[in-house]
């Protein structure tokens, strides 16, 4: 798989936000657009790669987004896009869960059942009819988009600390959740089984591979684990991630693990970087350094068309390809 070179060319620099970017999501296939949620309480829709990007050597800069979605009262912490690209869901520090209509630019549903900051959101179910949110009130709530019910369908209360990350793997009907209590819980809805893995360190990111056999978990001790569902193995990679929520994803057809990182604390001259590892060997495929100003790359997103984006703490989103 490493036959394809990992793309590291800086194509596009999005400077639409003026606060740290907390969430980056490409729109569903073909991923032409990118949704970014920031601490400036807005969600911006922009073109992932402008038309003229391929020609110039310098990255193109965009200052104004195509659409701004402003309803959150606190920072936006996560954004998820539905498969049909017609709706997206966002959560934030204001304990709200919003379901948006992309074209109208307004919320179609607001759920207020969480009692604390909501950290993660994912679509699930047949036709993306369920919105799953993980919150600092230690619960995972499942909301029904098809009814007007203000209560969640179900609330999963197994976690004992903030649920920081969620990923839904629909082919196996399972919901994976990572929590700051150091557990990764995989809820298999079809079988009615919960698999509880202890990682002993707060989990900041959880991701299932496309075939559903491998779980990718980032923990605050600075490791990313590839945790097979059948048997636990441990390729571990050292980089700095000690304090903040840093997300990691699979990339290049599950061949590469991509993750943001924090800048070294004592060394101010170096900024944060985005790391890419080979899944099988655990070797670093690429290290893409950001500016010195960028202290954290808190979220990364991979687009099957070969682009990836990193949301930086200086409010920029950099798209490489």
């Amino acid at each position: 798989m490493p036959a394809i070179k990992f793309p590291t060319r800086h194509l596009h620099n999005l400077k639409t936000h003026n606060a740290p970017v907390n969430a980056v999501t490409f729109s569903s296939y073909p991923g032409t657009y990118i949704l970014t949620g920031s601490s400036d309480r807005a969600i911006h829709l922009s073109r992932a790669v402008p038309n003229n990007a391929g020609n110039s050597t310098q990255p193109v800069e965009t200052i104004t987004p195509i659409q701004r979605y402003e309803a959150h009262g606190y920072s936006v912490l996560d954004v998820a896009v539905a498969a049909d690209n017609a709706r997206f869901a966002s959560v934030g520090g204001d304990r709200q869960v919003f379901l948006w209509d992309v074209e109208q630019g307004s919320t179609t549903r607001r759920w207020t059942g969480h009692t604390s900051r909501v950290e993660a959101v994912q679509f699930a179910g047949d036709g993306d009819s369920v919105v799953i949110t993980g919150s600092a009130d230690t619960t995972v709530n499942l909301w029904d988009t098809r009814s007007k019910d203000y209560k969640p369908i179900q609330s999963l209360t197994e976690a004992s600390d903030t649920v920081s990350s969620l990923h839904v793997h629909m082919p196996s009907y399972s919901i994976a959740s990572g929590s700051y209590d150091g557990h990764v819980r995989v809820y298999d809805v079809r079988m009615g089984r919960t698999t509880d893995d202890v990682l002993a360190h707060p989990v900041t990111s959880i991701r299932c591979s496309a075939d559903g056999n491998v779980l990718l978990a980032s923990t605050l001790d600075g490791y990313i684990q590839k945790d097979s569902i059948s048997h636990a193995t441990k390729p571990r990679h050292t980089y700095r991630n000690a304090e903040l929520r840093v997300r990691s994803v699979f990339a290049q057809g599950d061949g590469v693990v991509l993750s943001g990182s924090e800048a070294a604390k004592n060394d101010t001259s170096l900024g944060a970087a985005v790391f890419a590892w080979d899944v099988l060997t655990g070797e670093v495929v690429a290290t893409v350094p950001m500016d010195e100003k960028v202290k954290v790359v808190s979220c990364v997103a991979w687009n099957p068309s070969g682009h990836w984006a990193g949301g930086c703490s200086d409010g920029t989103v950099r798209i490489f390809g």
Binding site: D144, I153, Y173
Partner: protein
């Protein structure tokens, strides 16, 4: 600025009095009313009746008025009582609603009532400096200045123990004057509250007589206080002291003859008594003679209490002071042998008189100060500290023969010495000789083995057995190192009591390495015991369980650390990177029916029954969805009696109910206590049921 403000902003501004620049404006008289006098559009004006009630309501402010004139009353004027349930507390028991006379008045009555009120001062106001019945002065303006009743000062005094009629000040020790005739009957003295000095009464001088001359005696108005009573009181400084009363006997002034009205009330001067009236005084200057008689003021140094300013010559003052009659400021005589000083002059330091005597030159005291004496004294401990001798050199100095004894370090191995040095932090320990024990004292092989046994970390036997059983059941740590696993197995076998040889050790490793490895084994055994062991260890008694482990861990540290809270074995396993069975657990998960519907899957068998959405679960599954349902007993369609009857009809024995079978051991069909109990006597039945009439029958 010039732009027109919207009306809302203008009104918001008005709500807090625009003309009040300083201070807090008073709230508007009534809600919504504007007292700034600005124009109010007609649609905002309100019609109110003379009592300020809103008259027009709703429907274009036309008619509808709630209740009777917007009150809850009725035409008759009665306020309907609130409903009180007569079940528990009757309405008549409830306190009747308080009704004021105003409730029954109409507008005319109210207006009359308003008009009849006029403003005047209360009767309770009293004049300034009121003695009894200063009626003449009451009309003055002073009346306004002081209220009657208790002033704050009086209240304070009363709190301090003062009572009406008493004087103010410290208590006075004097004889009790029970009766004026019996005065001086007993010599015993008591503490009494001081007498009350009367208020200073300012007598307005309206006549042209000389100062102090009150004129001829004349008949007085009955309300006026008799002048004689005020004799001893000065208009400014109040009553003179009681002791002085006797001494100052005022001559009866007056014209010709003395009437009964001149009676001062004292018996000893009878106005009709015969005899020369030596005190008959016709001159104003009669006081001069008395001045000589004036005794020095007693009992108080307060100049205000001395009746009148009296000139005291310096000579007299000097005589007084020498005579020792002067008193201290608190009114007591000075202590025996002390004389009050005339001035502070005598005490001034500059005065040569009290200089200390000159010390002769060259004089030396026979005594020494304490500091000088102890200066060359050195305690034994200090001397020992200062000494640089060590025991051997000291022995040499004393001429003692070298003792055959040796230091413990002579037998120590260098490693042991290093460990001690590390623990104590001392670097100047004698070198370790690692000598062999003298012959006869050598450690036997068994002793040596016992010593080594002490090094083997302790492990609970139960824990070891559990770890072993877990190993037998197929899983054991150190899968990657077969030799280590074997050593681990031997270690827990020994601790489980299956073997009694020393644990294996890596060939060629030192004892320390061996011990370290065994400690690791002990910890691993603690972590990897099976689940039952984990549960058991949660409930260990404070004295036994974790202490064993901490002993093993801390055996090489001098300080005992408090036993750590037992960590979840899964977490500890994850921390050392042993992922797998230990860190993974599976539980049941009960997705709701709706969730399964949304996921478009067949719900698992144990799907959680959602009570709020019971409508979408079929009647057949209602009682079988299991899981959380505690009441899962299938409901019988027919009651058991009916069932039995059907069975009997069909010629079969009814099946005994399982409930009855369970209850069988309790019921004894042959024996019924109620029936077989001894029949009580007739008297009891009679007492309960029977009347006398029945008896006769």
């Amino acid at each position: 600025m010039a732009s027109k403000r919207p009306r809302a902003a203008f009104e918001a501004d008005l709500s807090h009095s625009p003309y009040a620049v300083y201070g807090t404006p008073l709230p508007p008289l009534e809600d919504g009313a504007r007292d700034d006098g600005s124009y109010l559009p007609v649609w905002k004006q309100e019609v109110t009746d003379e009592r300020g009630r809103k008259r027009l309501h709703g429907a274009f402010t036309g008619g509808f008025s709630a209740g009777y004139f917007n009150t809850v009353g009725s035409k008759e004027g009665w306020t309907p009582a609130t409903f009180v349930s007569s079940r528990q507390n009757r309405a008549r028991d409830a306190k009747p609603a308080t009704q004021r006379p105003e409730d029954f008045m109409d507008e005319e009555d109210l207006r009359e009532q308003e008009e009849s009120r006029n403003l005047n001062t209360t009767e309770g106001f009293a004049g300034f400096g009121s003695t009894e019945a200063d009626a003449t002065r009451r009309a003055g303006l002073m009346d306004l200045l002081k209220t009657g009743g208790e002033t704050m000062g009086v209240k304070l005094l009363k709190k301090m123990g003062w009572r009406e009629g008493q004087g103010i000040g410290p208590k006075v020790r004097r004889k009790a004057n029970l009766d004026e005739n019996a005065a001086g009957a007993s010599d015993e003295t008591y503490l009494f509250a001081p007498e009350n000095p009367p208020m200073v009464a300012f007598v307005r001088k309206t006549d042209h007589k000389g100062l102090g001359f009150s004129g001829e005696t004349h008949l007085e108005k009955p309300g006026q206080p008799t002048q004689d009573e005020d004799e001893d009181s000065d208009s400014f400084f109040g009553d003179r002291l009681a002791s002085k009363k006797k001494a100052t006997k005022k001559p009866q002034r007056g014209g010709f003859g003395v009437g009964i009205l001149n009676d001062t009330g004292s018996d000893d001067e009878d106005p009709y008594s015969l005899g020369p009236q030596i005190s008959y005084n016709k001159t104003i200057g009669g006081k001069k003679k008395k001045a000589k008689e004036t005794k020095p003021a007693i009992a108080s140094s307060n100049p205000l209490l001395i009746a009148k300013p009296v000139f005291i010559s310096k000579k007299i003052a000097a005589a007084r002071s020498t005579g020792g009659f002067r008193k201290c400021r608190d009114g007591r005589l000075p202590l025996d042998g002390f004389v009050l000083a005339d001035s502070l002059m005598g005490l001034s330091i500059s005065e040569k008189k009290y200089d200390p005597p000159q010390v002769p030159e060259g004089w030396k005291s026979a005594r020494k100060s304490a500091a000088e004496r102890t200066s060359d004294y050195v305690s034994t401990a200090d001397a020992a500290k200062a000494s640089s001798l060590d025991p051997t050199s000291r022995a040499a100095a004393l001429g003692e023969a070298q003792l055959p004894g040796k230091s413990i370090f002579d037998w120590m191995t260098p490693e042991a010495r290093e460990r001690i040095a590390k623990l104590t932090g001392k670097t100047n320990l004698p070198p370790a000789m690692s000598e062999k024990a003298p012959s006869g004292y050598e450690l036997s092989e068994s002793d040596r083995r016992r010593d080594l046994w002490d090094l083997v970390p302790k492990l609970d036997k139960q824990t070891a057995v559990q770890a072993l059983t877990r190993g037998v059941s197929g899983w054991m740590p150190y899968a990657e190192d077969e030799a280590k696993r074997a050593r681990y197995r031997s270690f827990i076998e020994i601790r489980a009591g299956l073997r009694d040889t020393l644990p294996d050790r890596v060939p060629g490793s030192s004892t320390d390495d061996w011990v370290t490895e065994m400690q690791e084994f002990a910890r691993a055994a603690e972590v990897f015991k099976p689940m039952s062991g984990v549960m058991a260890s949660r409930f260990t008694s404070a004295s036994s369980g974790p202490k064993v482990v901490s002993d093993a861990l801390d055996s090489d540290t001098p300080l005992s650390r408090p036993a750590e809270k037992p960590e979840d074995p899964a977490v500890s396993a994850a921390k050392i990177g042993m992922f797998g069975q230990m860190t993974r657990s599976t539980h049941s998960f009960f997705p709701t029916r709706l969730l399964c519907k949304r996921f478009n899957i067949k719900p698992p068998d144990h799907v959680q029954h959602d009570p709020s959405r019971s409508g979408d679960s079929g009647p057949g599954t209602r009682f079988q969805s299991g899981g959380y349902q505690t009441d899962s007993k299938p409901r019988d369609l027919i009651s058991k009696e009916v069932m039995d009857m059907i069975m009997i009809e069909s010629g079969r024995q009814p099946v005994p109910a399982p409930e009855a079978a369970q209850a069988a051991p309790v019921v004894e069909p042959e024996h019924n206590e109620a029936l077989e109990a001894e029949r009580p006597g007739d008297a009891i039945f009679k007492a309960i049921f029977g009347s006398d009439d029945e008896d006769e029958e």
